[in-house]
Symmetry: C2
Subunit: 244 residues, 2 copies
């Protein structure tokens, strides 16, 4: 099964104050859909844990020209663009209840050894070659990020707490994204939509770690962001907004 499609309904209780799907919920849907497809393909959690390995999301990019709205159905279609023994590129197309494309997402997944927390090799998964798809994903790949100049950035502080941590006992993907989105006010979010969100996960953060959150405007409504702990950056990110 080269593609997997999941259908969802956006309830009011799930919406952001603007009445659309939060970027973070869409990120969770991306992760969930990827998990389901990997399970069906026999390369999911239960297969990797046999070798003491797990999938870790390394990069995530979402680009939407319209966001799913309250009380509407939406779908995610996912497929594998490429894989090798170190990582896998998995793409997504997001459509509305009429099948119209709302946007795309790209992810890069790495396997880590759960004991050493280091990258590991994916062996015995040659059958994945059969499900690689050449379906186009009409958005640019996640850029490579260099460090931003702290002097040019506004910054905030945060200490990670219990509900920021997940099954892997590190800070959860969407918590970093929330921390970034929280650098802007409700008024700003009411007047802008996220057009594109890129995030690269560089290092695990843990319970109790204190971090700085940096955001620097590099072009009108385009920001480079970073979350930096004692031992260097945890995530680097780019967020671009459009005015509405």
């Amino acid at each position: 099964m080269k593609e997997y499609i999941a259908n969802y309904f956006l309830t009011a209780g799930e919406c952001n104050p603007e009445g659309t799907i939060p970027v973070t919920l869409l990120a969770n849907r991306v992760i969930e859909t990827a998990t389901m497809h990997a399970n069906i393909l026999g390369v999911g959690y239960s297969r990797l844990i046999e070798d003491g390995m797990a999938w870790v999301l390394s990069r995530l990019s979402i680009e939407m020209h319209r966001w799913p709205e309250v009380n509407k159905s939406y779908s995610l279609r996912t497929w594998i663009e490429s894989y090798n023994r170190h990582f896998s590129e998995r793409n997504f197309e997001i459509t509305d209840d009429k099948g119209e494309v709302l946007g795309y997402a790209r992810t890069i997944w790495m396997t880590i050894n759960l004991q050493t927390r280091q990258g590991g090799q994916l062996n015995g998964l040659e059958k994945l070659a059969e499900v690689v798809s050449d379906r186009p994903c009409l958005m640019d790949k996640c850029p490579r990020f260099t460090a931003i100049d702290p002097e040019s950035a506004k910054s905030g502080d945060y200490t990670f707490r219990y509900t920021d941590c997940d099954f892997n006992r590190h800070v959860n993907t969407v918590r970093y994204m929330e921390l970034l989105l929280n650098q802007w006010t409700l008024d700003f979010h009411d007047a802008h939509r996220v057009r594109r969100f890129d995030i690269a996960f560089m290092r695990e953060s843990y319970f109790g770690e204190n971090v700085k959150v940096l955001a620097a405007e590099t072009a009108p409504n385009a920001f480079r962001c970073e979350i930096v702990g004692n031992e260097g950056p945890c995530v680097r990110s780019a967020i671009s907004y459009t005015e509405i």
Copy 2:
């Protein structure tokens, strides 16, 4: 349809550090299941909005002797225990993939007028009488909370930010719950399970509001909690843990 049943699968990505469903995700499932059933019964969002009204969760109690675990299916069954023109009592039974009961939840929903943000009357919903169910919900009702003595409580501070706010443009239910759970460390949560979580929503909080979070131990591993803003308490709560 007196009862509505929803089936879920708990992915690794959704789990807490202990490998079970977070209390907050179960709370979201409760809200989601209630929403779906109300929609089916014709008393959901789209019906109430015709009268400028909306459902608001007033009280939530969850009592579990076991929590759904990673990579397992679980189900929520919901039914209406009672209703009148001011509020509705809706209960839930949570079962595992073998149909064994893991615990229960109770909710009280009120209708508010979206303009005035005051409680309103539910008219024209007499047909709900036909779907009231006498299925037993084997847990006590949510207690009435009195104020706790700030002197006897440990306390923390928090300022509500963008991602804490939801479609109703106030702070989201589960954000209050997270704020309460975050009064304990990861180590504490590793050594304890939530046995029962009661929460009463007393007043809306908004973006930018600064609150104090109080937690006072009233018996071994039993706590009374409160989130208090400038204009009084937003939520009052009781959390009891069991050691594992």
